[in-house]
């Protein structure tokens, strides 16, 4: 098992005829991901890497049974494309582009919650269930099917953590890159219960970053989990970030620093890793070693 994507996922690539669309369609197909369709309005009827191109996602869903979509389109078109995917019944939408207007992300989240769609990103490298399905732009090299789920804001840290887990023999069930934009389609709290409910996942690594409040907010979800959680945060030594005015302070209080995140995670019962290499050990005997 895994979460969100597996060997049955039927993926549509939004913006398949662009440079990045073509390149990553090829990469995903090589990995074994079932890329079943692509969209490019006005170019319906063409083919890219053997994949049929349609004008609308509605057609990809109806004719190819697509249920996952990954976007390679300019940020200003993400809102329209995301609402289209959500309305068409896509259940997982992966937003690769970065620099999406925050007001647009609010609208996307609202539509997604209403229709029960999970949106990942923007500014994400995507997600991978090793050996089954890779949706986005993550390099497959460090990932190996195994026992641990990873949920990370950063793509690059995701790789380092997976590398560590793979080398330790634990391996990964699914690695989810939440994305680097200030407002994300999904948060740690949204993903953690999925790992908790996934029979194959034995533990979860949360990879956080300074800024924002998504790590602190995750504490509630962690407390509800039986599976062990390890937390790694980047930015303990970063210069103190600038506040978004008084309103930011009023809404987010003292949250957003590495300290506040570590404190919240500790309090919720997560193990805290200060180096990548500490991560496997923190699961201790709670998960099988798999060696």
């Amino acid at each position: 098992m895994s979460i969100l994507i597996d060997e049955k996922s039927r993926v549509v690539v939004q913006g398949i005829t662009g440079g990045a669309g073509v390149f990553h369609t090829k990469k995903m197909l090589e990995y074994g991901t079932k890329v079943v369709a692509g969209t490019s309005p006005g170019k319906g009827g063409h083919e890219i890497e053997g994949v049929s191109v349609y004008d609308t996602i509605e057609e990809c869903v109806k004719e190819q049974g697509a249920d996952v979509s990954v976007m390679f389109i300019p940020p200003r078109f993400v809102l329209d494309g995301a609402i289209e995917a959500i309305e068409a019944g896509i259940r997982l939408l992966v937003v690769i582009p970065e620099m999406i207007p925050v007001h647009d992300m609010l609208k996307i989240r609202l539509a997604a919650v209403k229709k029960g769609c999970t949106v990942i990103g923007g500014n994400t490298a995507g997600l991978i269930s090793p050996g089954k399905c890779n949706v986005g732009i993550m390099p497959e090299i460090t990932f190996k099917q195994g026992r641990i789920g990873i949920v990370s804001r950063s793509g690059s840290l995701n790789y380092y953590v997976a590398d560590t887990l793979t080398k330790s023999g634990l391996g990964e069930t699914t690695c989810v890159g939440l994305g680097g934009d200030p407002i994300l389609g999904s948060t740690f709290s949204d993903i953690l219960p999925m790992f908790e409910n996934d029979p194959q996942t034995e533990g979860v690594v949360i990879v956080g970053e300074i800024g924002g409040v998504y790590e602190e907010e995750a504490a509630g979800a962690i407390k509800k989990m039986k599976k062990p959680v390890v937390f790694f945060v980047a930015g303990r030594n970063a210069p103190k970030g600038k506040r978004m005015g008084h309103a930011g302070a009023i809404v987010e209080g003292d949250m957003g620093t590495a300290d506040s995140k570590i404190r919240a995670m500790k309090e919720a019962g997560a193990g805290i890793a200060y180096k990548f290499s500490e991560i496997p050990g923190l699961f201790g005997s709670k998960v099988g070693t798999g060696r």
């Binding site: 390099p139 840290l157 409040v213």
Partner: protein, 404 residues
């Protein structure tokens, strides 16, 4: 991206929110005229810098006569407030304050809401009020597709204890502020203090606005204001400016190790890594996202050209940004610029073997270029590579007589 006070005030004034009568001045020549245009009554002179706490830092001053105004403006213009040079000042009528309120709109990222916030105790201590008496902070949250109706303004005004016309007018200002927030794709728009005057008027005495850089493509008015390419707070260092012009996410730090780390997450994590080992990073950089060799060479040049940098620490995890492309960019830079500073790097991920082979080949061709360059592969843990970088940097520091 933060706007200057005078810009933010112009925008909310256009929505119909009352602001003090005022004029901008870039030099003292027109100040006396401005003083008389404003009615010859006492004025406040406010340095226009992208930083808060201007009052405490001496960036806001008062004048009762035209001569005084000229003198005070002259004192501010050209000076530095909180290290930011004052290029212009806003001269405004001095408002007779009876009460100070806070009114702001921002985004609650945790709940995906747009939040209207109000407090009857405005002024600079509003954050303290939020901590010590949270019940005094009144909030109304909106979904992105929810409209702001007139009653919302009344509800929040009532929660502050206002009544009658005072309540109604406050409500209208809240409505206009919310409208401006959405119209301009703002991330923050606050009036603090929103003043109720002696003679029963509401006036937005100070305003702060941060807009969403990523939405500028649809914000003609903001682009015409000239806001593109600004920092959230303060101004860019020359190197940050250079990086921004080249499209490289970059921040100057104080140390001597140039950081060349891959994506943004690793950019932050590598600062921890180096710092934990006793080293001192010279910068934050996001060199991920699949840069071309030319761009990688440009990034490296930015780091090496920094006189504070003694050593370059590199960590490439080949994802979209493949290791062979990374090697090509680094070799291109080495050949073009022949740098003298040591570089200690690690490559893993997509095409790391190919990348290492390219380095070997280049080294065989021009061994002189590689005297101070070390490249490790997947078999060497990143912590070891970082440690070597820190030691090399310490050695050079010590040689310079710098104690870190």
């Amino acid at each position: 991206m933060r706007l200057f006070e005078f810009e933010a005030k112009k925008l909310i004034k256009d929505e119909g929110i009352p602001v003090p009568e005022g004029r901008m001045a870039e030099d003292v020549s027109g100040v006396k005229k401005i003083f008389s245009e404003l009615g010859g009554a006492p004025v406040v002179i406010k340095s226009q810098i992208l930083a808060g706490a201007r009052g405490k830092s001496g960036g806001i001053t008062f004048a009762g006569t035209a001569e005084q105004a000229e003198e005070e403006a002259g004192r501010l213009l050209g000076s530095k407030i909180r290290e930011f040079p004052v290029k212009n000042v806003l001269i405004e009528e001095k408002v007779k304050i009876a009460e100070e309120f806070y009114l702001g709109v921002t985004i609650d990222r945790m709940r995906y809401k747009i939040v209207l916030i109000a407090c009857a105790e405005g002024g600079v201590e509003i954050e303290e009020v939020a901590k010590s008496s949270p019940e005094k902070i009144k909030k109304l949250a909106f979904d992105a597709n929810e409209d702001f109706y007139p009653h919302h303004g009344l509800v929040i005004a009532r929660r502050l204890g206002l009544s009658g016309d005072k309540m109604k007018e406050f409500g209208k200002i809240a409505s206009k502020l919310f409208k401006a927030f959405k119209k301009y794709d703002a991330k923050l728009l606050e009036i603090n203090p929103l003043v109720y005057t002696d003679d029963g008027r509401w006036v937005a005495v100070d305003t702060r606005m941060s807009i969403d850089e990523d939405a500028l493509f649809r914000q003609k008015t903001l682009v015409e204001l000239g806001v593109e390419g600004r920092h959230e707070e303060g101004e860019l260092t020359p190197r940050e400016l250079e990086a921004r012009e080249a499209g490289i996410p970059y921040l100057d730090l104080d140390g001597n190790i140039g950081m060349f780390p891959g994506g943004a997450g690793m950019g932050i994590a590598s600062i921890d890594l180096i710092t934990d080992l006793g080293g001192s990073p010279a910068n934050f950089m996001d060199s991920g996202g699949g840069p071309t060799p030319e761009r990688l060479a440009r990034m490296l040049k930015l780091l090496v050209d920094n006189p504070k940098v003694d050593v370059i620490f590199g960590a490439r995890f080949g994802g979209v940004s493949r290791c062979d492309v990374f090697a090509e960019g680094v070799i291109m830079y080495l050949k073009d610029e022949k740098p003298e500073k040591p570089m200690i790097m690690r490559m893993t991920g997509n095409m790391w073997k190919e990348g290492l082979e390219m380095f070997e080949k280049a080294k065989a061709e021009s061994p002189g270029l590689f005297e101070k360059i070390k490249i490790y592969g997947i078999e060497t843990p990143i912590e070891d590579v970082a440690k070597e970088a820190v030691e090399a940097a310490d050695e050079i520091s010590a040689g310079k007589g710098v104690v870190r």
